[in-house]
């Protein structure tokens, strides 16, 4: 692994200054995506800025119909949070099915959304629930946050500080996981919200996407059968050793129906 310098800021402002002063600076959160990538020399930062000492990025709070989760909150903390379980149980269950116990102990919400792995679970939660990503300088709606394969709307030195989730009327997440890594081959979050029904799909294509046809069918009747006959095109979907594009397209329908059934 390439050598690098470390920085241990205790505030977001200090972290930003460290990033700006670095040649090729990278934030280090749980390290569960970054360290594997660095071990393969696929990322070679000159400087790592650890977020571990920044208290402002921790904590989960419920306020005015929303649950706000700090960027450095681990998947295990989301899974175990009474606030999350009470307001958005689907989110607690999603976090509890990420990777394995040790990945959940270290990996964080902010790291997952910034990394934007096409098979990650949280992107489906953010888009499915209509969440807002809060950064050191602005707020970004989930619909415009995930822009492509490992790509987000974040600019070079932007730091995610929290994600704010509106509490849905009901929601559920169904995942068909890779049996080894637990990453989603296809994962679907379905939510009935005050603003309508949302259906968000992860794992199937280069970036999380919504399925408008399913959303309007569910708006007319929130039942699994409402999705009968709706086919998702396999054109833009991944095909690999795990599943062909056609199979992924089929799984989107199956996972969506399971999620709706679970909401009932």
């Amino acid at each position: 692994m390439q050598p690098f310098q470390i920085h241990r800021p205790s505030s977001v402002a200090e972290a930003l200054a460290a990033l700006r002063g670095a040649g090729e600076g990278k934030l280090l959160a749980g390290g569960q995506s970054l360290i594997p990538v660095m071990k393969l020399d696929l990322a070679e930062p000159t400087d790592l800025v650890s977020l571990a000492g920044i208290d402002a990025l921790r904590g989960i709070r419920s306020e005015g119909g929303r649950v706000v989760i700090g960027a450095a909150v681990s998947h295990a903390e989301v899974e175990a949070s009474p606030d999350v379980a009470a307001a958005i149980p689907a989110l607690a269950r999603l976090a509890g099915a990420i990777g394995d116990a040790q990945v959940r102990n270290r990996g964080t919400l902010g790291g997952s959304v910034a990394h934007a792995d096409p098979a990650a679970d949280y992107p489906a939660a953010l888009v499915g629930l209509g969440a807002t990503v809060v950064t050191d300088r602005r707020e970004i709606g989930a619909d415009s946050f995930f822009t492509g394969l490992f790509e987000t709307a974040l600019v070079e030195d932007e730091i995610v500080t929290a994600v704010s989730f509106p509490v849905p009327e009901r929601a559920a997440y169904a995942k068909f996981p890779n049996p080894a890594s637990k990453f989603a081959i296809v994962g679907v979050m379905v939510a009935a919200t005050g603003q309508g029904v949302r259906v968000a799909v992860t794992g199937a294509g280069p970036s999380v996407f919504r399925v408008a046809e399913m959303e309007s069918a569910l708006a007319d009747g929130f039942r699994p059968e409402a999705l009968d006959g709706i086919a998702v095109s396999s054109d833009e979907l991944f095909g690999d050793g795990d599943a062909s594009a056609e199979y992924r397209a089929h799984l989107v329908g199956v996972m969506a129906r399971r999620a709706v059934a679970e909401c009932a």
Binding site: L28, D100, A180
Partner: protein, 159 residues
């Protein structure tokens, strides 16, 4: 790259050392401290042979830098039971022995430390909880059945 000072509590003793920023925790333990009970079974962060406790939680020491344990308490398999020659095993180690939860033993240190983390949070896990929790600990020998029994017994939930 200059080294950095690291101070942690390792298996109950305060330890100070100089490490490179890019030293992985597992390399610090095995090469820096001679604690070779922590194993490396993959380079994809998936096998769990390297699991140790850091700050009371099970972590993959191959997917954490040594510097991230600054100020933390780290426990490896060598430190789980009190260091007394011929002394008693930790209840989880004893349960693995009693229930034949190991064959070659390669996965065992990680299994045991992962299991200790589970039963601290859920003292009486059911079989499904144990199997879900051990998702990140791969065993090539046992078929898991006896490991599950051992973990349930080691947590105090029946035998």
């Amino acid at each position: 790259m200059p080294t950095i000072a690291l101070t942690l509590t390792l298996n109950g003793k305060q330890v100070s050392a100089e490490v490179e920023p890019n030293t992985l925790l597992v390399d610090f333990l095995r090469e820096g401290r001679g604690l070779t009970g922590t194993h490396v079974g993959c380079d994809t962060s998936q096998c769990g042979a390297c699991v140790v406790l850091a700050g009371g939680r099970s972590v993959k020491s191959c997917t954490m830098f040594a510097f991230e344990t600054e100020g933390l308490e780290v426990v490896t398999i060598e430190g789980l039971a009190p260091a007394v020659v011929g002394g008693e095993l930790h209840p989880m180690q004893a349960a693995f022995r009693e229930h034949h939860g190991l064959q070659c033993g390669f996965c065992t240190p990680g299994m045991v430390l992962s299991a200790v983390d589970l039963v601290r949070r859920h003292p009486n896990p059911d079989e499904a909880q144990v199997r879900h929790w051990l998702e990140g600990n791969i065993c090539r020998c046992t078929g898991y059945h006896n490991i599950v029994k051992a973990v349930q017994a080691g947590g105090g939930g029946g035998s």
